[in-house]
Symmetry: D2
């Protein structure tokens, strides 16, 4: 297969697709099909599988490979597919990247190894080696809440010179860090700066960022695509109108329950309530119990975003209203 | 003295004024006069003394009282004066607030107690008690890097109902947190949401924040005032032009040396190189050695901001170029 | 007043005395008298006021001075009195140390400044300056849970060469750190290595440490004195018998409620239930409510330590059994 | 294969065997044979493969399986073999445990999933599920520096009731935590409490722990076996003599270089200098450069432990002295 190329810098909304599951070790195949169609209909600029939102580290390698293949099959090259290969073992990361290439994916994404904490020079060596060995372009993934380590600005700057490193996805939520990167890389129009948290996506695009890996786009891809476009167009009126919809989602869907798992549980319950796929959450986390699923389903239907962007959903999952 | 009132929500640029010192326990009185004039000439909307940038916790209580008095005397009510009363002892916070009131200050600012880590319900009780006992309005100060604790959104929401709590200064650099506050308090036009880090001030104002406590305004107050105004006016062209100047400052002045102290040492050296006041840094930190001071002075003079906003400086401190 | 000297290394049980309070800004003077008598009757080898257990950072400077004076008056030189001077302002630390010297105290104890986080070289400079300026010998206090910073082994080693630095109190609970210090300083018979948490006191003395700053000694000083002696004598039978009593206290008295404040609240309620002093806890913490005080009082009376070491208590506080 | 049983509680020295590697994805098979012989000759009470010291998370799953098989083959049931199955994916943990059972291993060891941080109730559910599904007994592994989460005492207590959970390996270095466990489980003579850091092994055995997973035993197994026995026998004279040897190792071998990787790099270089196996360190870490290897080799030969326990080594690796 000839490697397709995508335009650099990669821009826009590249949702971290949830991984539709029927059980601990079983993909929800029709769910994947629905999700891909749903996202593409919403106008997204790429699809990122096996990110944190995709429960990357929690599912078996077999499933990860199947998911990559299935997603690429469905996408058929219409948008770039990015594949998370974050791992503690370089061998496993490379092996997954090879599977991604074979399936026709366009790029891979890797956060720092997350068991042993590495020093900054060790991080640089690690990413350099990885980028050398990979058959696909690499996006760095800054995710300190999960990996314990920031990739320092200095290390990103050095790595940005590597031929096979195409960008940075920053999920630190630290706007000083992100804006410092935008400034430091202001002359590097090929290096993509994407922001993780959707709550700060519009602002980061206004200030010079290239787009977002917005989890909420699993529910309402059109909302984040429009918000991104409004920010690019500097249409502040529209930005603020859509930002309010995005914040309503954040405030209502991601904060039920306790612990860091609330975001993922809420998002999967919401997507499932829209009839897009099963809402099973893999170990070591768990799906919400039924009453909380119903609560999420009701909240979803009362969102402004549902009124304006809910048409993309297949149909409401009756399971949630029993 | 009758308490003046200021318009709510407090908006604009309220610089965290550095504390001009001649030595470990000696204020630089002409320096304070210069700084106040310099800030007011730059058009700031308030002055905040004894913030983190003001080395609040590092100088003696006697000096803190003298600084409050001297600053209020100089400001003469032209803009609101906010006074940091962050302390581990409630008694000392209240006592400082009384001194602030007596001197004619307008409000006080308090971060969580920073020795014992408190749970969120304990934080709520603490701030409620404090607000009840204070003779001046209180601004909450979220500063997790120094206090070990975020003030949770839930606790801020509850405290925002207190009659004597007027706003929040957030220095977490976490844009998700800040934007969540903007959304949660969207109907509370009296409650002020100010952001600490200047690198994210413009974006936060664009998204609905009320202004910034920008440390760089000690050097170039006009820059941040203009940047704030451009953001308020949604003049994106100008925002980006001025943001680049702000980021140049951040990238060049705050990162010499190592450790968290680089910001303060760099800022004080820069202000001092502009001839505004002495650059002495109190224990437990230290001023930069001479060669690094010279380096900072040269960097200051090569900043775009110096060209456009440096006229406010008194004159270049010849000490730095020996 | 001629400075008394104490034998180096300082050894044994030096309890971190709780600060008896009647209210937010009022000492319980008879309580202080009781506590000092109680501790001395229990055979302690020193008394440490204004440690973390003494709510050092939470009470006003006026109260701190009064407490130092009163304690020294009561102790009358029978054992060394150590005074906590931990502060973010060097000036205030020195000023407190001068008050301690004037009152006749024997040494001071300081943790790193706890607002601005310092790098290790900055910590070394800080402690060196402090030790130079102090009128009394200094013990270093490693307390990373509260100060955010470990004092590295390397820095302790350098500081141990300073004429006015007499020892280290380590409250990190990290046995690797403590044992590394014991090894590194094995030829420094003058430098005292004391451990904070009473749960590891016996083991650390067995392995070569010099004693403990055991909070539980506020309740049952004799228990910890005997446990220390058994460990020094290598009487493992007795060590294990007494260790079990110490662990029963830890498991039952310090874990009621949530948050880090459980330890202090539980300890003060327990001491108060023994009729030794009032149990008021200063802001930003709070005393337990009455039902929890009663629960603590009942637990205290069912402890094995109460049976064997409770005679030292004045008499049971009837307030707790209403 | 019939499952052997081992005596509960598992006691003694169960070294976390380093993983001998020739390269990124190649086991050093003669090295494994040497290591197993070396450890058994040293009198260890078990062997733990794929712990943190075994670079568990850094090597591919294929290699992990080969290592398990090879080790079990060599050990031939002479001591229990424990296998680390720590993973973020439950499926992969179970699959590894099945391989361990098939190879004839005796038990498995799992730390909390280390990418998503779990709340305590989530941890409990996770370990319960895992223990239910495993074909071998499970030891819990508390390793907060790498997994971001302590397993709380409360959760350990609940899990200790599970039929298939046999013990806890605690690598927190927190002696308060460990001693609290010893106290809380004082009536559970079947539940094994093993401590990770060798610097606190002797003390923890003196206080009632069951043994240690001492990394230094890869170099000098006999030293730690003797130290364990001396502590069990309460022979304090001998404990202190051997503890000093153990601390000399810790101070000289584990602290060359910076970052958390110093321990592993130093240990592997030391073992390799003894001629036991190749010292290759897998990504994302790296072996020391040659000059530092030579430095380690010289230090090893000057250790007291080398004089008394070095005979077990095959012969000095001449590579290190070129």
């Amino acid at each position: 297969m000839t490697q397709r190329t995508f335009i650099r810098p990669l821009q826009g909304i590249i949702p971290p697709m949830i991984t539709p599951l029927l059980g601990e070790n079983e993909l929800d195949i029709p769910g994947i099909e629905n999700m891909v169609s749903h996202l593409l209909r919403g106008g997204v600029h790429g699809i990122f599988v096996l990110g944190t939102t995709g429960e990357c580290t929690n599912i078996s390698y077999g499933l990860r490979r199947d998911l990559i293949r299935k997603t690429c099959e469905m996408v058929q090259g219409r948008v770039p597919v990015l594949v998370g290969i974050t791992d503690t073992s370089v061998e496993e990361s490379i092996s997954l990247a090879q599977a991604a290439q074979a399936a026709g994916a366009d790029a891979v994404v890797a956060a720092p190894p997350y068991y042993f904490g590495l020093g900054q020079p060790e991080l640089e060596v690690y990413f350099r080696r990885l980028a050398d060995a990979l058959p696909l372009p690499l996006f760095l993934y800054n995710m300190p809440s999960h990996t314990k380590t920031m990739i320092s600005q200095e290390v990103v700057m050095k790595l940005s010179e590597h031929d096979n490193i195409y960008g940075l996805k920053d999920s630190s939520a630290n706007a000083v860090y992100f804006n410092s990167m935008v400034y430091a890389l202001r002359n590097r129009s090929d290096f993509s700066l994407l922001v993780g948290p959707e709550e700060m996506m519009a602002a980061s695009v206004l200030m010079g960022g290239h787009g977002g890996v917005s989890g909420g786009a699993n529910m309402f891809p059109g909302l984040y695509v429009d918000l991104y476009q409004a920010a690019k167009d500097r249409d502040m009126e529209k930005v603020l109108e859509l930002q309010e919809m995005a914040m309503e989602i954040s405030a209502n869907i991601y904060n039920l329950g306790t612990y860091g798992s609330s975001y993922l549980k809420g998002l999967k319950a919401a997507v499932s309530s829209l009839g897009l796929c099963d809402g099973y959450v893999a170990s070591p986390m768990e799906s919400f119990p039924d009453d909380q699923k119903r609560m999420i389903a009701q909240k979803v239907r009362s969102l402004k975003a549902f009124k304006f962007y809910g048409a993309g959903a297949k149909n409401i999952n009756p399971e949630y209203f029993k």
